[in-house]
C-alpha cells in the first residue's frame, strides 16, 4: 500500500496524460485522473474528484494536485465533505501540476507518508534546495577516470564515478529508479557530474535536471551508515545502463 494521487485538471485529457506519465514512474502507486466534467466538457467536477479520492486513498492517504485556481476550489470543497478520519490523511498540494505529480508519484512509490509525498510535490517549485550538499563535495572530487573509480576517505563519505552505459543517460525512468533504490538505504546520496555531485538522489526532479547523457560520467557520493551499499547500488544500475541499451 502507498499514498495515492489524484490529478485534478480542467481537462480530462490533460489529467489522463499526466496519469500515464506518473504511472510509468510509479507503477505501484494509485494515480487517479480527475479531469474535466462528467460529460467530458472542460471544467472540474466535484463528483469525479470525490470518487477519485475514494479510489486513490487505500488507507494510507492521498495527495491532490490541481491545474488552476478553480480546480483548487473544487478540491477544497471535496475535502470538506470527507469524513474526519479520511480528511486527516488527504492533502491538497500547492505544486506545479506536472513536475509536482512526478515528484509526488516517485516519493509515494518509495513508501513515504502522505506529508512527505505532499512535500515532494511542493518542492517541485524548486523554491528550496533539497538539503545542502556535503561540505566540500565539489572541491574534494576525485579525478574522473575510465569506468568506475573508488575512493573512501576517513570521514565515511563514499564516492564513485561511473560511466552511464545506456544511450539516453539519465531521463525520467532511470531517475525514478535511482530515487527508488536509494530510498531503501539509510544514507544521504548525491549525484552529479564528476566534481559536482550536488543533486539529491531522492529527488527525481533534481536527478533529471542534471541532464547527464549516455556515455558521460556521473559521480555518486554517499554519506551515512549504509553509504557504501547505496552508492554501489546506484553505480551498478548505471553501469548496467538502467536496463536499457
Amino acid at each position: 500500500m502507498s499514498v495515492g494521487l489524484v490529478l485534478v485538471s480542467h481537462s480530462a485529457r490533460l489529467a489522463e496524460g499526466l496519469r500515464e506519465l506518473a504511472a510509468q514512474m510509479a507503477p505501484d502507486v494509485a494515480v487517479v485522473a480527475a479531469g474535466g466534467m462528467e460529460d467530458g466538457e472542460v471544467g472540474t467536477s466535484f463528483d469525479l474528484v470525490l470518487a477519485a479520492v475514494a479510489e486513490a486513498d487505500g488507507g494510507d492517504g492521498a495527495v491532490l494536485l490541481y491545474d488552476l485556481g478553480s480546480a483548487l476550489m473544487t478540491a477544497d470543497l471535496v475535502l470538506e465533505v470527507l469524513d474526519d478520519d479520511q480528511r486527516q490523511r488527504v492533502r491538497v498540494a500547492d505544486a506545479p501540476l506536472v513536475e509536482g505529480a512526478l515528484a509526488a508519484a516517485t516519493t509515494a512509490q518509495g513508501g513515504a507518508s502522505v506529508d512527505a509525498v505532499a512535500a515532494a510535490a511542493t518542492s517541485a517549485w524548486g523554491r528550496e534546495a533539497e538539503g545542502p550538499p556535503p561540505a566540500g563535495a565539489a572541491a574534494e572530487a576525485p579525478t574522473p577516470a575510465e569506468g568506475a573509480e573508488s575512493a573512501e576517505p576517513a570521514d565515511g563519505t563514499v564516492r564513485e564515478v561511473v560511466t552511464l552505459a545506456n544511450s539516453l543517460g539519465i531521463h525520467a525512468r532511470p531517475a525514478a529508479m535511482i530515487v527508488k533504490e536509494v530510498s531503501g538505504y539509510d544514507a544521504e546520496v548525491l549525484v552529479g557530474p564528476p566534481g559536482e555531485a550536488t543533486a539529491d538522489a531522492r529527488s527525481v526532479l533534481s536527478v533529471v535536471a542534471l541532464g547527464i547523457t549516455g556515455g558521460q560520467e556521473m559521480e555518486v557520493v554517499g554519506r551515512g551508515p549504509q553509504a557504501r551499499e547505496a552508492v554501489d547500488a546506484v553505480v551498478d544500475m548505471a553501469r548496467d545502463g538502467f536496463g536499457e541499451e
Binding site: M37, V42, S70, L77
Partner: protein, 212 residues
C-alpha cells in the same frame, strides 16, 4: 413582509431566467478577460438547480438555498460552481431553522454568502472579482436594516451597491482568477462574476418590489 420559502423558490426561478437572458452577455464579458464560460456555466447550474428543486419538497428557505448549492457545486465546472455553491451553502446555514426571513436574516444570509466566497476564493477587495459586488452589497444591506428598512429596502440597497461595485471593477487590473493572467490587459473590462452577482441581487430586489 418577511421572505417565505416560496419567495426563495421564486427567486431561484427568476434568477435562472435572468441568467438565461444574460447568458451571452456574461460569455462576452468573460471572453474578454477569462475563458468565456461564465454565462454557460451559470446557465447550466441554474437550470440544474430548477430541475432538482422541482423534484423535491423544500420546507424552509434554508432547504431551497442548500439544494441550489448542491446543484451549483456538482454541475458547474468553472470557478462559479464552487464559489456560488459555497455562497448558497453558507447562506443556507445562516438562516437554518427559520420558516421566514426578516430583514436582519436577509443581511445575515448575504453576509454569510460573501464570507463563504472570500474563504473559498481568497480574493481581496479590488482584485476585480465577484467579491467587489458582494462586499458593498453586504455593507449597504446592513446599513439599510439598521435604519429600520424592510426586506425590500435591504435588497434594493444591496442591489444598488452591487451594481456600483460591478461598474467599479471596469478600470481595475485583475489580481485573482483567470483574468489575472492578462495583467494590465484586464483593465477596461467589467468583471463577469461581479456582474452575475449584481444580477442575482437585482433579481431579489425586483421580486421584493413586486410583492410590496
Amino acid at each position: 413582509m418577511p421572505v417565505s420559502t416560496q419567495d426563495v423558490l421564486d427567486l431561484v426561478r427568476a434568477y435562472a431566467g435572468v441568467v438565461a437572458e444574460n447568458r451571452d452577455y456574461l460569455i462576452q464579458l468573460d471572453a474578454a478577460i477569462g475563458d468565456a464560460d461564465h454565462g454557460e456555466n451559470m446557465d447550466r447550474g441554474m437550470k440544474a438547480a430548477l430541475v432538482k428543486l422541482d423534484g423535491e419538497t423544500s420546507a424552509t428557505p434554508s432547504d431551497v438555498l442548500k439544494s441550489v448549492a448542491t446543484s451549483l457545486i456538482t454541475k458547474v465546472g468553472g470557478a462559479a460552481g464552487p464559489l456560488y455553491g459555497t455562497a448558497f451553502l453558507r447562506a443556507a446555514t445562516a438562516v437554518q431553522g427559520k420558516d421566514t426571513l426578516e430583514p436582519t436574516d436577509v443581511v445575515a444570509a448575504i453576509t454569510a454568502a460573501r464570507d463563504g466566497i472570500v474563504a473559498r476564493g481568497k480574493a481581496e477587495p479590488q482584485d476585480k472579482t465577484m467579491v467587489d459586488a458582494w462586499t458593498p452589497a453586504v455593507d449597504a444591506a446592513g446599513a439599510a436594516a439598521s435604519d429600520g428598512g424592510g426586506v425590500r429596502a435591504v435588497l434594493e440597497a444591496a442591489a444598488d451597491a452591487a451594481e456600483q461595485g460591478m461598474r467599479d471593477t471596469i478600470p481595475w487590473v485583475a489580481r485573482k482568477g483567470r483574468a489575472s493572467y492578462l495583467g494590465e490587459r484586464s483593465a477596461g473590462h467589467q468583471d463577469p462574476g461581479a456582474t452575475s452577482t449584481a444580477l442575482l441581487l437585482r433579481a431579489a430586489a425586483d421580486l421584493a418590489g413586486r410583492e410590496a
